[in-house]
Symmetry: C2
Subunit: 156 residues, 2 copies
């Protein structure tokens, strides 16, 4: 007997995980995509380009949603349909990030779930504020979750 | 004296690179995003889920554009502004991919360049056809390239 709990999907449901951006991970991502610009791995090169620290690839920060969706919301058995990303502020090595996915709408009949996806970090000038580094919307298909409530659906 | 050639950006300019998807790279990407679903690393698990081989993370395939843009078109000094992705067909370990970026429009006054971004592979049933695995549009900002010709600009 399987004891897995069905995930509940309703508009407004949100998950968050914290990730501290590590140099070794940024370097590994650069190797995977074939971009070896030293601003991502060499502190002196990053500083020469005007950055306070080595800078994370935007797509690496954006890809952290993928892990959150596969494991948390909608969770296992999700097919990734689409992802829109805007890169709004840089992510640096050492930054403590909050990766957020929040259900914005769903189509129960097709098992489609849209989430707002956000990468944010603390504003160094105000501990209580957040800077949005990446935002966008993801759509996943998952026929194993439990939908609660109603939702309209518009294509963005 | 710097001898670097300025990149030419005009509507229709296209670059392509070929990538063969490797198991070790798929596993490394999974570690980076915290998704360890065995369909990405264990052939038996992938086959049990109905796939012919282990399956690449959609965001990994989508991230290959990032390397192409940083190195080829628009090339060095590009700031990544946005990326939209649709995951249309699976990418499997062993697939030989063509990663394509093609200029669709630009705004010379702001240095903005939009590209259609495509990951495709050969159709196993017809050598002359291609299957689009991922498509979308990227916008990059680059003030060091040379723009040729004219372009309208519409926000997608």
């Amino acid at each position: 007997m399987q004891s897995a709990v069905r995930r509940i999907v309703s508009v407004g449901v949100q998950v968050m995980k914290k990730v501290t951006m590590k140099q070794e991970d940024v370097a590994a991502f650069g190797n995977l995509i074939g971009d070896h610009n030293p601003i991502h791995s060499d502190l002196a090169a990053a500083k020469a380009a005007g950055f306070p620290s080595t800078i994370c690839y935007g797509m690496f920060a954006g890809s952290l949603f993928s892990g959150l969706m596969a494991t948390e919301l909608p969770g296992p058995n999700t097919v990734y349909i689409s992802q829109n990303l805007r890169f709004l502020a840089p992510v640096f090595v050492g930054d403590e990030l909050e990766i957020i996915a929040k259900v914005t709408q769903f189509r129960r009949d097709r098992g489609l779930i849209e989430m707002a996806t956000i990468v944010q970090k603390k504003d160094p000038t105000d501990e209580n504020k957040r800077i949005t580094c990446v935002d966008g919307f993801a759509v996943g298909l998952n026929k194993t979750v439990e939908f609660k409530g109603e939702s309209t659906w518009k294509t963005r």
